[in-house]
């Protein structure tokens, strides 16, 4: 079984805004596209033109409804590795292939030592790991470790592919171990939350809840500053009386 570092210098992770995610799949396909040729290469596909097309994805978006009737809302929920502080997927690994980096907290799989036993995917309550059947090893979100430190990239491109692509700005990347970081501030301000905190794995990634809606169930509508009108005539007559004025062109 594999040990965890006692502490990590940083806690790199994602903050995902459920208020603005529209479920466009940009994070999923940009992730697949980057990683199919990056650290996790290959990300294989099975039966891609056939009856049951499927493959290895490190990030998936699920769309579903919560609540009934007027309280119902549609939620788009992107799901990937949360880079937990105490991830069971690492501690169950029999070969040390799964590990948590001491420097930044990223949970990675070493494909050279992974034996494809899948214990880690059973241990992860978030379903974040995907076994690549053709490649024979476990794959997972790397936080684009081959992008975020990439000195051949412009500094603004040193972010995970999903964050780079997200059109609504629903994905944020940074050090959640630093309370002063922009992502930590965002989590504080928007009351970001952990997925399944009761499991005790201390996810680093946070989700921001949908904001309160300004619909009829929430804010009170501004009262119309209507003119006091004389109700003795017809609607049209009253309107015409109001509109019959001197107007400059």
């Amino acid at each position: 079984m594999t040990s965890l570092p006692e502490a990590t210098s940083k806690k790199l992770g994602l903050v995902i805004d459920l208020d603005t995610c529209v479920g466009c799949q940009a994070c999923a396909t940009s992730c697949k596209e980057w990683n199919a040729g990056g650290y996790s290469a290959p990300l294989t596909d099975q039966n891609p033109r056939g009856r049951d097309p499927h493959g290895t994805w490190l990030n998936r978006v699920h769309s579903y409804e919560v609540g009934d009737d007027a309280q119902s809302r549609t939620v788009h929920f992107p799901r990937s590795c949360l880079h937990c502080e105490t991830p069971a997927c690492v501690t169950v690994c029999p070969t040390g292939a799964s590990y948590k980096r001491a420097s930044d907290g990223i949970v990675l799989v070493n494909p050279d030592t992974c034996i494809g036993c899948k214990l880690c995917s059973w241990a992860c309550p978030y379903g974040a790991r995907e076994y690549d059947t053709d490649d024979g090893v476990m794959k997972k979100c790397t936080l684009c470790v081959d992008r975020i430190y990439n000195e051949t990239f412009a500094p603004e491109d040193r972010v995970p592919a999903c964050v780079r692509a997200c059109p609504t700005g629903a994905r944020h990347f940074g050090d959640l171990g630093d309370p002063e970081s922009a992502v930590s501030q965002l989590v504080k301000e928007r009351e970001g939350f952990d997925l399944l905190p009761e499991m005790g794995f201390k996810p680093v990634n946070k989700y921001l809840p949908p904001r309160a809606r300004r619909d009829q169930t929430a804010a009170s509508a501004p009262q119309a500053a209507e003119q006091a009108v004389d109700n003795s005539s017809s609607l049209a007559d009253r309107f015409f009386a109001w509109a019959d004025r001197s107007l400059a062109r």
């Binding site: 466009c24 697949k32 596909d45 059109p167 509508a221 119309a224 019959d244 400059a248």
Partner: protein, 941 residues
Amino acid sequence: MLNREPDIALSEPSADEIKTTTCYMCACRCGIRVHLKDGRVRYIDGNRDHPINKGVLCGKGSAGIMTHYSPARLRAPMKRVGPRGSGEFEEITWDEALETATGWLKDVRARDPGKLAFFTGRDQSQALTGWFAQQYGTQNFAAHGGFCSVNMAAAGLYTFGGSFWEFGEPDWEHTQYFMLFGVAEDHASNPLKIELGKLKEKGVKIVAINPIRTGYGAIADEWIGIRPGTDGLFVGSLIHELMRAQKIDLEYLVRFTNAHWLVIDDPKGAGDGLFARDEAGQPLAFDKVTGALADATRTDIAPALVGTFKLPDGRSGRPSFALIAERFLTDEYNPDKVAAATAIPAETIRRIARELAHAAFEQQITLDIPWTDTAGRRHEKTTGRPVSMHAMRGISAHSNGFQTCRMLHLLQILLGSIDCPGGFRYKAPFPRPTPPPNKPARAVGPNAPLKGAPLGFPQGPEDLLVDSGGKPQRIDKAYSWDAPLAAHGLMHMVITNAATADPYPIDVLFMYMANMSWNSSMNIPAVLRHLTAKDERTGEYKIPKIIYSDAYSSEMVAYADLILPDTTYLERWDCISLLDRPISGADAPADAIRQPVVAPDRDVRGFQSVLLDLGARLRLPGFVTETGTPRYPGGYPDYIVHHERSPGIGSLAGFRGEDGKSYGRGAPNEKQLDAYIAGGCFHEHRLAPDQRYYKHANKAYLDWAKDAGFIGTSAPITFQLYLEPLQKFRQAARGHGAIQAPATHRTRIEKYFDPIPFWYPPFDGAPGENEAFPLSAITQRPMHMYHSWGSQNSWLRQITAENCLYINRARAQKLGIADGDWVWIKSPLGRVKGRVRLMEGVNPDTVWTWNAVGRRAGAAALDVDAPEATRGFLLNHLITELLPEREGGYRFSNSDPITGQAAWYDLRVSIEKAAPDEQGETWPQFVPLKRPVLADAEAAA
């Protein structure tokens, strides 16, 4: 154990080379950076500098690599060797293909050029394709707008000289209230997503009006699950409420609209409903200062908006605004009266009207931007009413879409929110004059070009393309009495009309990237019959020859006789031109190019270069030099740089002039494409601060736009609240004028050609009146697919490989239908089988599915047992292309009566649970298509 962490490569370059170009995974046209490694595409991301996507890239664009390397790519030119539809082809050389096409087209041109029907699909080169048709001499040209959103384009252009999407956008920075109507989520996709995210951060209220709550609607503050086809009632009711509350910007109306123009009231006369004009033809208004009639366009008058005034000839006239107000103040648009039909509570309508009024009038914006109006008056500040709107297919794809869209613009204008801070802003080259001045060109004769572009904007019966008996002169019956303002043609009717020789047969059908034998047609079984129907006497196909260009093995390929294989979007030159559908923003006219970032590994050619080659072989004027040699021997890039539409005006506005320093107008510049590539494959021209707002009446802007070649005159653009051209058609239907409507069409023209917007029930039945088919059935676009293009992408189809029928949970329970059940979906035309999913976020009288996920077995290099074919389905099979017989046995097309817009969303259906032994597979099933010769599947990544 605690292993030493392995060393991993953290700084591998992503590419040997990064090239910029323009995405084509949908119609959004984002800037992309293509990372090339070892000669292959490694990765694609968004270009941060690009005005459309500002660096982001959607789910489609980020999967572009799999479309580029798709095994469904065609490999080489082909000629049909088996029966049409069999998919039996033989590869031929380009020379043989081009000579074959030239032979067919030359023969037709020498006899009757109109016997060529040239229709392009989601074509982004209409400035070229339309010009080819014009020079060839066929009036029978259009692109896909007739079955897409011509109602939006036409309603906007006739009303205020702009439109939603490509012709305008909300003032995202300043708007305080945003309404989103029936949006197709694959259109304008990244700009909308970027800005929705920002609006939410700023706390600006977003209201989504859509029968279905998916993507954008899901994050809106308020979702209004309207019943399909009733948006006009809702908008009319908002207008009713705003008028009742006296929340109308009267000053804006008299300044910028024809609200004060006097309309002749002369019920039996030829001039009834037309504008009263003086001897010079100028419209008249009543000036309250002088107490006399005056030229309504003068700026020194105080025009009356109400009253009845005697005209010099003794007739009387009323300001158009008074007529408009009377319409909307009737009880017909009272929220209490429209609540049941729209499925929107009256109190909600009243509240939305209050919120609109609050944002417009209590949150008025004033910017420190001085500007000068067309009368020469300087304004120290720019003020605006920060209410903005965006609308799309949900409004337009109904048979009442034109009038509904007009009504939406009327609402914007009554609030004073067009092209002001916080409102809805034009994107250059818009605004353009209203009504649009260019008319559709008429057929001339053998071997002769048309005298103008085939598409235009009629202003009265004299502009129709009909013969002396009123018979349509275009194959799609555009600009006939069936669809007088058919500004984008009716591509959805071409195959039906050609095969039934109604109004006449054609010789050659030439199409480009339009899947007309599948998801882009109504009543597909009938279309397939038409494509393969033979003349019993001659044994020849009723549509004798079909030429088709596509990059991929779409369903249409099997029905063509000659295939001209196109490149992928990463292998081609293209031009996103201000002459066509540009990528401008409100503050910056912009255009763009595509450059080939990889060379084709197959024997394919970009369609635009092929078209130029064909034009030269046909010796069309403009395509050859005086000595008969090709004018653009370098193909499309040669044309992009050197073609001049008028002196100094060409495909690209940037880097013109020999020194490359001119904008808009200037001599061709040999280095123009290099300059575009150096700038990221686009060019933006920033407007000066005083040109940014009120462009329709902004002297600095209009003068500049005229110089740049965007408009022919710098006169102010007057909003046509009251649309006189419609009344001219109506008068022709009442028996006035030299050109009169045929008897079969008079009732129809009288009813629908109302110069004041109004709501009428969609043709497939008023809400609640169609008991046999009680449910509306519509489609939505998955954000990660674009029509049928997405389902052949090996990644995107892993996300969605089959579509289901979504039904409101409570409604399904009443029908005894459970989640996962297979049901028959029935319309008067037939039935389709699909699997049901239940949801809350859908109007209870509406069912829906994802558009164009269902494919015909064998298409797109998918296996025959792919779920797209075995379980996925199209609603198209249920949509009739012809309406039931009307007077005289005439069957109008299933289209808007004014513009000919395909009325996809009028569909009404009933639902019935399938029998136990009918579960598990969709119906109808078609004979699997044989795969044409495709690019080596090994080439797929």
